[in-house]
Protein backbone atom coordinates (compact mmCIF):
# COMPACT_ATOMS: atom_id res chain seq x y z
CA UNK A 1 0.00 0.00 0.00
CA UNK A 2 1.40 3.39 -0.99
CA UNK A 3 2.50 5.52 1.97
CA UNK A 4 1.60 9.12 1.23
CA UNK A 5 1.68 10.73 4.65
CA UNK A 6 4.25 10.86 7.45
CA UNK A 7 1.94 8.97 9.81
CA UNK A 8 1.73 6.04 7.40
CA UNK A 9 5.52 5.84 7.25
CA UNK A 10 5.74 6.08 11.03
CA UNK A 11 3.15 3.36 11.61
CA UNK A 12 4.79 1.14 9.06
CA UNK A 13 8.11 1.51 10.89
CA UNK A 14 6.53 0.90 14.30
CA UNK A 15 4.49 -2.12 13.29
CA UNK A 16 7.31 -3.58 11.19
CA UNK A 17 7.18 -7.35 11.28
CA UNK A 18 5.57 -7.40 14.72
CA UNK A 19 2.15 -7.88 13.11
CA UNK A 20 1.00 -9.70 9.99
CA UNK A 21 0.79 -7.96 6.64
CA UNK A 22 -3.00 -8.26 6.78
CA UNK A 23 -3.18 -6.52 10.14
CA UNK A 24 -0.80 -3.81 8.96
CA UNK A 25 -2.93 -3.19 5.88
CA UNK A 26 -6.06 -2.93 8.04
CA UNK A 27 -4.39 -0.21 10.10
CA UNK A 28 -3.23 1.66 7.01
CA UNK A 29 -6.69 1.52 5.47
CA UNK A 30 -8.33 2.72 8.68
CA UNK A 31 -5.91 5.64 8.99
CA UNK A 32 -6.15 6.51 5.32
CA UNK A 33 -9.94 6.58 5.43
CA UNK A 34 -9.87 8.78 8.53
CA UNK A 35 -7.56 11.22 6.77
CA UNK A 36 -9.19 11.37 3.36
CA UNK A 37 -12.88 10.60 3.79
CA UNK A 38 -13.72 13.70 5.78
CA UNK A 39 -12.06 17.10 5.73
CA UNK A 40 -9.99 18.44 8.61
CA UNK A 41 -12.27 21.19 9.87
CA UNK A 42 -10.91 24.32 11.49
CA UNK A 43 -12.95 27.24 12.85
CA UNK A 44 -11.09 30.49 13.25
CA UNK A 45 -12.77 33.11 15.40
CA UNK A 46 -11.59 36.66 15.96
CA UNK A 47 -12.31 40.34 15.66
CA UNK A 48 -11.22 42.18 12.51
CA UNK A 49 -7.49 42.93 12.65
CA UNK A 50 -6.39 40.14 14.98
CA UNK A 51 -4.58 38.35 12.15
CA UNK A 52 -6.95 35.58 11.11
CA UNK A 53 -5.69 35.63 7.53
CA UNK A 54 -1.98 35.62 8.42
CA UNK A 55 -2.64 32.83 10.91
CA UNK A 56 -4.41 30.75 8.29
CA UNK A 57 -1.57 31.37 5.85
CA UNK A 58 1.33 30.67 8.20
CA UNK A 59 -0.15 28.07 10.52
CA UNK A 60 -2.45 26.23 8.13
CA UNK A 61 -0.35 26.62 5.02
CA UNK A 62 -2.86 28.49 2.88
CA UNK A 63 -1.57 30.66 0.07
CA UNK A 64 -2.45 34.34 0.19
CA UNK A 65 -5.73 33.70 1.98
CA UNK A 66 -7.64 36.89 2.73
CA UNK A 67 -10.46 37.02 5.22
CA UNK A 68 -13.50 38.74 3.74
CA UNK A 69 -15.95 38.15 6.55
CA UNK A 70 -17.95 41.22 7.45
CA UNK A 71 -18.30 41.96 11.14
CA UNK A 72 -21.75 41.08 12.36
CA UNK A 73 -22.44 38.38 9.81
CA UNK A 74 -23.76 35.06 11.05
CA UNK A 75 -23.93 33.45 7.63
CA UNK A 76 -20.70 31.47 7.53
CA UNK A 77 -19.67 29.23 4.65
CA UNK A 78 -17.28 26.33 4.78
CA UNK A 79 -14.25 26.86 2.51
CA UNK A 80 -12.41 23.77 1.31
CA UNK A 81 -8.75 23.58 0.35
CA UNK A 82 -7.24 20.49 -1.22
CA UNK A 83 -3.89 20.10 0.52
CA UNK A 84 -2.61 16.94 -1.17
CA UNK A 85 -3.31 13.26 -1.82
CA UNK A 86 -6.98 13.50 -0.90
CA UNK A 87 -6.45 15.41 2.33
CA UNK A 88 -8.76 18.41 2.53
CA UNK A 89 -8.56 21.33 4.92
CA UNK A 90 -11.88 22.97 5.61
CA UNK A 91 -12.05 26.45 7.11
CA UNK A 92 -14.86 28.29 8.86
CA UNK A 93 -13.71 31.89 8.98
CA UNK A 94 -15.85 33.41 11.74
CA UNK A 95 -16.15 36.96 12.98
CA UNK A 96 -15.63 37.80 16.62
CA UNK A 97 -18.68 38.53 18.67
CA UNK A 98 -18.06 42.24 18.83
CA UNK A 99 -19.26 44.32 21.67
CA UNK A 100 -22.95 43.92 21.17
CA UNK A 101 -24.31 41.85 24.07
CA UNK A 102 -27.72 41.77 22.37
CA UNK A 103 -26.20 39.64 19.66
CA UNK A 104 -24.83 37.02 22.08
CA UNK A 105 -27.76 34.66 21.60
CA UNK A 106 -27.56 34.90 17.82
CA UNK A 107 -23.83 34.17 17.86
CA UNK A 108 -24.24 31.40 20.38
CA UNK A 109 -26.64 29.72 17.94
CA UNK A 110 -24.12 30.15 15.13
CA UNK A 111 -21.29 28.75 17.24
CA UNK A 112 -23.49 25.87 18.45
CA UNK A 113 -24.28 25.00 14.85
CA UNK A 114 -20.75 25.13 13.47
CA UNK A 115 -18.23 24.40 16.24
CA UNK A 116 -19.28 20.83 17.14
CA UNK A 117 -18.24 19.69 13.64
CA UNK A 118 -14.82 21.30 13.88
CA UNK A 119 -11.65 19.40 14.75
CA UNK A 120 -9.86 22.53 15.90
CA UNK A 121 -11.33 25.83 17.09
CA UNK A 122 -8.87 28.72 17.12
CA UNK A 123 -9.93 31.84 19.01
CA UNK A 124 -7.49 34.61 18.13
CA UNK A 125 -6.79 37.63 20.33
CA UNK A 126 -4.39 40.52 19.77
CA UNK A 127 -1.57 40.02 22.27
CA UNK A 128 -0.96 43.76 22.34
CA UNK A 129 -4.57 44.63 23.14
CA UNK A 130 -4.85 46.93 26.14
CA UNK A 131 -7.96 45.19 27.40
CA UNK A 132 -8.98 41.61 26.66
CA UNK A 133 -11.93 41.71 29.04
CA UNK A 134 -14.53 41.46 26.29
CA UNK A 135 -12.77 38.51 24.64
CA UNK A 136 -12.63 36.81 28.03
CA UNK A 137 -16.34 37.39 28.48
CA UNK A 138 -17.15 35.96 25.04
CA UNK A 139 -14.97 32.93 25.72
CA UNK A 140 -16.43 32.36 29.18
CA UNK A 141 -20.09 33.09 28.40
CA UNK A 142 -20.48 32.04 24.78
CA UNK A 143 -17.70 29.87 23.35
CA UNK A 144 -16.82 27.70 26.36
CA UNK A 145 -20.44 26.81 27.17
CA UNK A 146 -20.91 25.62 23.57
CA UNK A 147 -17.66 23.65 23.81
CA UNK A 148 -18.55 22.13 27.19
CA UNK A 149 -22.07 21.18 26.12
CA UNK A 150 -20.73 19.40 23.05
CA UNK A 151 -17.69 17.95 24.83
CA UNK A 152 -15.30 19.68 22.47
CA UNK A 153 -13.45 21.86 24.99
CA UNK A 154 -10.22 20.04 24.08
CA UNK A 155 -10.62 21.26 20.48
CA UNK A 156 -10.23 24.90 21.52
CA UNK A 157 -6.99 26.85 21.14
CA UNK A 158 -6.69 30.33 22.60
CA UNK A 159 -4.19 32.03 20.31
CA UNK A 160 -2.50 35.32 21.21
CA UNK A 161 -1.16 36.68 17.93
CA UNK A 162 1.10 39.67 17.22
CA UNK A 163 3.45 39.36 20.17
CA UNK A 164 5.92 41.19 17.89
CA UNK A 165 3.88 44.40 18.19
CA UNK A 166 3.67 44.49 21.99
CA UNK A 167 6.54 47.00 22.19
CA UNK A 168 5.24 49.29 19.46
CA UNK A 169 1.82 49.36 21.13
CA UNK A 170 3.58 50.50 24.31
CA UNK A 171 5.73 53.17 22.68
CA UNK A 172 5.70 53.52 18.86
CA UNK A 173 8.61 55.97 18.92
CA UNK A 174 11.11 53.69 20.63
CA UNK A 175 13.13 51.73 18.01
CA UNK A 176 14.40 49.37 20.72
CA UNK A 177 10.85 48.18 21.23
CA UNK A 178 10.52 47.11 17.59
CA UNK A 179 10.97 43.58 16.33
CA UNK A 180 14.42 42.74 15.02
CA UNK A 181 13.38 41.64 11.53
CA UNK A 182 16.90 40.63 10.48
CA UNK A 183 17.31 38.08 13.27
CA UNK A 184 13.57 37.52 13.56
CA UNK A 185 13.83 38.01 17.30
CA UNK A 186 12.67 40.54 19.87
CA UNK A 187 15.31 43.05 20.99
CA UNK A 188 16.43 42.81 24.63
CA UNK A 189 14.15 45.68 25.61
CA UNK A 190 11.24 44.16 23.70
CA UNK A 191 11.84 40.81 25.42
CA UNK A 192 11.24 42.48 28.78
CA UNK A 193 8.11 44.21 27.48
CA UNK A 194 6.77 40.93 26.08
CA UNK A 195 7.41 39.08 29.34
CA UNK A 196 5.54 41.72 31.32
CA UNK A 197 2.64 41.70 28.86
CA UNK A 198 2.37 37.91 28.80
CA UNK A 199 2.49 37.87 32.59
CA UNK A 200 -0.40 40.34 32.72
CA UNK A 201 -2.38 38.35 30.14
CA UNK A 202 -1.84 35.17 32.15
CA UNK A 203 -3.07 36.90 35.32
CA UNK A 204 -6.18 37.98 33.45
CA UNK A 205 -6.87 34.47 32.13
CA UNK A 206 -6.50 33.03 35.64
CA UNK A 207 -8.68 35.76 37.17
CA UNK A 208 -11.35 35.10 34.54
CA UNK A 209 -11.10 31.37 35.32
CA UNK A 210 -10.24 30.54 31.72
CA UNK A 211 -7.15 28.62 32.90
CA UNK A 212 -6.14 27.08 36.23
CA UNK A 213 -9.57 26.00 37.43
CA UNK A 214 -12.22 23.35 36.88
CA UNK A 215 -13.99 23.68 33.50
CA UNK A 216 -11.18 25.91 32.30
CA UNK A 217 -8.96 25.12 29.36
CA UNK A 218 -5.58 23.45 29.83
CA UNK A 219 -2.37 25.51 29.69
CA UNK A 220 -1.23 23.79 26.49
CA UNK A 221 -4.34 25.19 24.77
CA UNK A 222 -3.01 28.74 25.12
CA UNK A 223 -0.36 29.86 22.62
CA UNK A 224 1.53 33.12 22.16
CA UNK A 225 2.93 33.68 18.68
CA UNK A 226 3.50 35.99 15.74
CA UNK A 227 1.92 34.74 12.53
CA UNK A 228 3.56 37.37 10.38
CA UNK A 229 7.07 36.45 11.60
CA UNK A 230 6.39 32.71 11.99
CA UNK A 231 7.49 33.12 15.60
CA UNK A 232 6.79 30.33 18.10
CA UNK A 233 4.70 28.33 15.66
CA UNK A 234 6.14 25.13 17.15
CA UNK A 235 3.98 25.78 20.20
CA UNK A 236 0.98 26.28 17.94
CA UNK A 237 1.68 22.98 16.18
CA UNK A 238 1.83 21.18 19.55
CA UNK A 239 -1.51 22.69 20.53
CA UNK A 240 -3.13 21.63 17.23
CA UNK A 241 -1.72 18.11 17.57
CA UNK A 242 -3.21 17.73 21.04
CA UNK A 243 -6.56 19.27 20.07
CA UNK A 244 -9.58 17.00 20.44
CA UNK A 245 -9.75 13.59 18.81
CA UNK A 246 -8.49 14.56 15.37
CA UNK A 247 -6.02 17.40 15.89
CA UNK A 248 -3.09 15.02 15.33
CA UNK A 249 -4.25 14.41 11.75
CA UNK A 250 -3.09 17.85 10.67
CA UNK A 251 0.43 17.33 11.99
CA UNK A 252 0.70 13.73 10.85
CA UNK A 253 -0.27 14.53 7.28
CA UNK A 254 0.80 17.98 6.12
CA UNK A 255 1.40 19.99 9.30
CA UNK A 256 5.17 19.64 9.33
CA UNK A 257 5.34 20.59 5.65
CA UNK A 258 3.00 23.55 5.86
CA UNK A 259 3.47 25.33 9.16
CA UNK A 260 5.34 28.57 8.57
CA UNK A 261 7.43 26.66 6.03
CA UNK A 262 9.40 25.34 9.01
CA UNK A 263 8.99 28.60 10.93
CA UNK A 264 12.27 30.38 10.37
CA UNK A 265 11.88 33.79 8.88
CA UNK A 266 15.33 35.28 9.44
CA UNK A 267 16.25 37.75 6.73
CA UNK A 268 20.02 37.50 7.12
Amino acid sequence: MEQKFAIEKLLSAILGDKVSEGERNQVMEAINSEITEKPFRVAVIGQAGVGKSTTLNSVFGLKNYTSDIAEGTTDIEEKNFEMRDGFTLSIYDMPGLGYDIDKDAEYERMYAKILPDCDVIVYIINAHAKDIGEDCRILRDVVLPVCNTNQIKDNLILAFNKIDTIGEAENPNDPELRWNVVENLPTEKLKKAIKIKLSNLTDKLIDEKLIGSVDAIEPHQVVFYSAIYNYNLSEFLRAITKAGKRGWIWTATVGFEQIGKWSDKKLS
Binding site: E183, K195, V222, A252
Partner: protein, 180 residues
Amino acid sequence: MQMTPQERQDYEKLTEEQKEEFDYQSRKHPEWGFQEVMVKLAFEAEADKTINDGGEDVDPNDVNIWMAILKGVKTILSTFKSIGKQIFDVIDEEITFIQEQINSGIREINSAVTHHCFDEVYKFNDHTLQMTDEELQEYDKLSQSEKEAFEYCSRKHPDWNYNQVMTQLVFHEQMKKMNL
Protein backbone atom coordinates in the same frame (compact mmCIF):
# COMPACT_ATOMS: atom_id res chain seq x y z
CA MET B 1 -1.71 29.99 51.63
CA GLN B 2 -3.43 26.91 53.04
CA MET B 3 -2.26 23.77 51.25
CA THR B 4 -3.43 20.18 51.31
CA PRO B 5 -0.75 17.58 52.18
CA GLN B 6 -0.42 16.73 48.47
CA GLU B 7 -0.06 20.38 47.53
CA ARG B 8 2.55 20.83 50.26
CA GLN B 9 4.50 17.89 48.84
CA ASP B 10 4.36 19.40 45.36
CA TYR B 11 5.44 22.76 46.75
CA GLU B 12 8.43 21.18 48.49
CA LYS B 13 9.58 19.77 45.15
CA LEU B 14 10.04 23.28 43.75
CA THR B 15 13.48 24.86 43.66
CA GLU B 16 14.23 27.70 46.08
CA GLU B 17 13.84 30.18 43.24
CA GLN B 18 10.48 28.69 42.25
CA LYS B 19 9.34 28.73 45.87
CA GLU B 20 10.19 32.42 46.06
CA GLU B 21 8.19 33.05 42.89
CA PHE B 22 5.34 30.90 44.22
CA ASP B 23 5.27 32.87 47.48
CA TYR B 24 5.45 36.16 45.60
CA GLN B 25 2.54 35.22 43.34
CA SER B 26 0.39 33.95 46.19
CA ARG B 27 0.98 37.20 48.09
CA LYS B 28 0.21 39.22 44.96
CA HIS B 29 -2.96 37.22 44.27
CA PRO B 30 -4.36 36.21 47.67
CA GLU B 31 -7.59 35.10 45.98
CA TRP B 32 -5.77 32.41 43.96
CA GLY B 33 -5.57 28.78 45.09
CA PHE B 34 -2.59 26.43 44.79
CA GLN B 35 -3.47 25.26 41.28
CA GLU B 36 -3.81 28.79 39.98
CA VAL B 37 -0.40 29.80 41.31
CA MET B 38 1.19 26.67 39.83
CA VAL B 39 -0.37 27.43 36.46
CA LYS B 40 0.98 30.94 36.69
CA LEU B 41 4.49 29.58 37.40
CA ALA B 42 4.26 27.19 34.47
CA PHE B 43 3.18 29.99 32.13
CA GLU B 44 5.99 32.26 33.31
CA ALA B 45 8.51 29.48 32.74
CA GLU B 46 7.05 28.80 29.29
CA ALA B 47 7.10 32.49 28.37
CA ASP B 48 10.72 32.81 29.55
CA LYS B 49 11.69 29.78 27.52
CA THR B 50 9.88 30.99 24.42
CA ILE B 51 11.46 34.41 24.54
CA ASN B 52 14.94 33.36 25.63
CA ASP B 53 15.12 30.54 23.09
CA GLY B 54 13.90 32.86 20.35
CA GLY B 55 10.73 30.89 19.69
CA GLU B 56 12.11 27.51 18.67
CA ASP B 57 11.53 26.33 15.12
CA VAL B 58 9.19 23.49 14.24
CA ASP B 59 11.00 20.22 14.89
CA PRO B 60 9.82 16.98 13.26
CA ASN B 61 11.59 15.03 16.00
CA ASP B 62 9.73 16.67 18.87
CA VAL B 63 8.78 13.79 21.18
CA ASN B 64 5.82 15.64 22.61
CA ILE B 65 4.30 15.95 19.16
CA TRP B 66 4.89 12.31 18.24
CA MET B 67 3.48 11.21 21.57
CA ALA B 68 0.31 13.22 20.89
CA ILE B 69 0.09 11.82 17.36
CA LEU B 70 0.35 8.22 18.51
CA LYS B 71 -2.23 8.74 21.24
CA GLY B 72 -4.53 10.26 18.61
CA VAL B 73 -3.95 7.33 16.27
CA LYS B 74 -4.81 4.93 19.08
CA THR B 75 -8.05 6.75 19.83
CA ILE B 76 -9.11 6.66 16.19
CA LEU B 77 -8.13 3.02 15.69
CA SER B 78 -10.15 2.04 18.75
CA THR B 79 -13.28 3.08 16.83
CA PHE B 80 -12.53 0.40 14.20
CA LYS B 81 -13.73 -2.94 15.52
CA SER B 82 -11.59 -4.87 13.06
CA ILE B 83 -8.31 -3.68 14.59
CA GLY B 84 -6.88 -6.35 16.89
CA LYS B 85 -5.28 -6.07 20.33
CA GLN B 86 -1.82 -6.89 18.95
CA ILE B 87 -1.80 -3.57 17.07
CA PHE B 88 -2.60 -1.59 20.23
CA ASP B 89 0.10 -3.47 22.15
CA VAL B 90 2.74 -2.46 19.61
CA ILE B 91 1.59 1.17 19.61
CA ASP B 92 1.52 1.17 23.43
CA GLU B 93 5.07 -0.14 23.42
CA GLU B 94 6.15 2.79 21.27
CA ILE B 95 4.24 5.27 23.44
CA THR B 96 6.01 3.87 26.51
CA PHE B 97 9.34 4.25 24.74
CA ILE B 98 8.61 7.88 23.89
CA GLN B 99 7.37 8.54 27.44
CA GLU B 100 10.70 7.26 28.73
CA GLN B 101 12.45 9.67 26.42
CA ILE B 102 10.34 12.50 27.80
CA ASN B 103 10.99 11.37 31.36
CA SER B 104 14.71 11.55 30.76
CA GLY B 105 14.33 15.12 29.62
CA ILE B 106 14.92 14.43 25.96
CA ARG B 107 12.67 16.45 23.74
CA GLU B 108 13.46 14.86 20.40
CA ILE B 109 13.04 11.32 19.28
CA ASN B 110 16.32 9.76 18.32
CA SER B 111 15.02 6.33 17.55
CA ALA B 112 15.06 4.00 14.63
CA VAL B 113 11.39 4.78 14.13
CA THR B 114 11.71 8.39 13.09
CA HIS B 115 14.98 7.64 11.40
CA HIS B 116 12.87 5.78 8.88
CA CYS B 117 10.81 8.91 8.30
CA PHE B 118 13.20 11.81 8.67
CA ASP B 119 16.87 12.45 8.14
CA GLU B 120 17.05 15.25 10.63
CA VAL B 121 17.81 13.25 13.74
CA TYR B 122 19.60 15.48 16.16
CA LYS B 123 23.32 14.86 16.20
CA PHE B 124 25.32 15.31 19.38
CA ASN B 125 28.39 17.46 19.40
CA ASP B 126 31.21 16.97 21.87
CA HIS B 127 30.62 20.19 23.80
CA THR B 128 31.31 20.03 27.55
CA LEU B 129 29.84 22.68 29.80
CA GLN B 130 32.30 24.45 32.10
CA MET B 131 31.02 24.57 35.69
CA THR B 132 32.16 26.32 38.84
CA ASP B 133 32.92 24.17 41.92
CA GLU B 134 29.59 25.11 43.41
CA GLU B 135 27.72 24.21 40.21
CA LEU B 136 29.60 20.93 40.02
CA GLN B 137 28.52 20.07 43.57
CA GLU B 138 24.93 20.82 42.67
CA TYR B 139 25.22 18.78 39.46
CA ASP B 140 26.54 15.78 41.41
CA LYS B 141 23.34 15.74 43.44
CA LEU B 142 21.25 15.05 40.31
CA SER B 143 19.97 11.55 39.63
CA GLN B 144 21.47 9.57 36.75
CA SER B 145 18.54 10.29 34.42
CA GLU B 146 18.66 13.98 35.35
CA LYS B 147 22.38 14.02 34.58
CA GLU B 148 21.73 12.45 31.20
CA ALA B 149 19.07 15.06 30.48
CA PHE B 150 21.47 17.77 31.63
CA GLU B 151 24.23 16.48 29.33
CA TYR B 152 21.84 16.25 26.40
CA CYS B 153 20.55 19.76 26.97
CA SER B 154 24.00 21.32 27.38
CA ARG B 155 25.23 19.69 24.18
CA LYS B 156 22.17 20.78 22.30
CA HIS B 157 22.61 24.36 23.50
CA PRO B 158 26.39 24.86 23.69
CA ASP B 159 25.87 28.61 24.18
CA TRP B 160 23.90 28.07 27.40
CA ASN B 161 25.43 28.42 30.85
CA TYR B 162 24.76 26.18 33.85
CA ASN B 163 21.75 28.16 35.05
CA GLN B 164 20.09 28.11 31.65
CA VAL B 165 20.44 24.35 31.37
CA MET B 166 19.10 23.85 34.90
CA THR B 167 16.16 26.17 34.21
CA GLN B 168 15.29 24.10 31.16
CA LEU B 169 15.32 20.90 33.25
CA VAL B 170 13.22 22.43 36.00
CA PHE B 171 10.74 23.70 33.44
CA HIS B 172 10.57 20.28 31.86
CA GLU B 173 9.90 18.66 35.23
CA GLN B 174 7.14 21.14 35.90
CA MET B 175 5.52 20.48 32.53
CA LYS B 176 5.70 16.73 33.18
CA LYS B 177 4.05 17.17 36.55
CA MET B 178 1.25 19.12 34.94
CA ASN B 179 0.89 16.43 32.31
CA LEU B 180 1.72 18.79 29.46
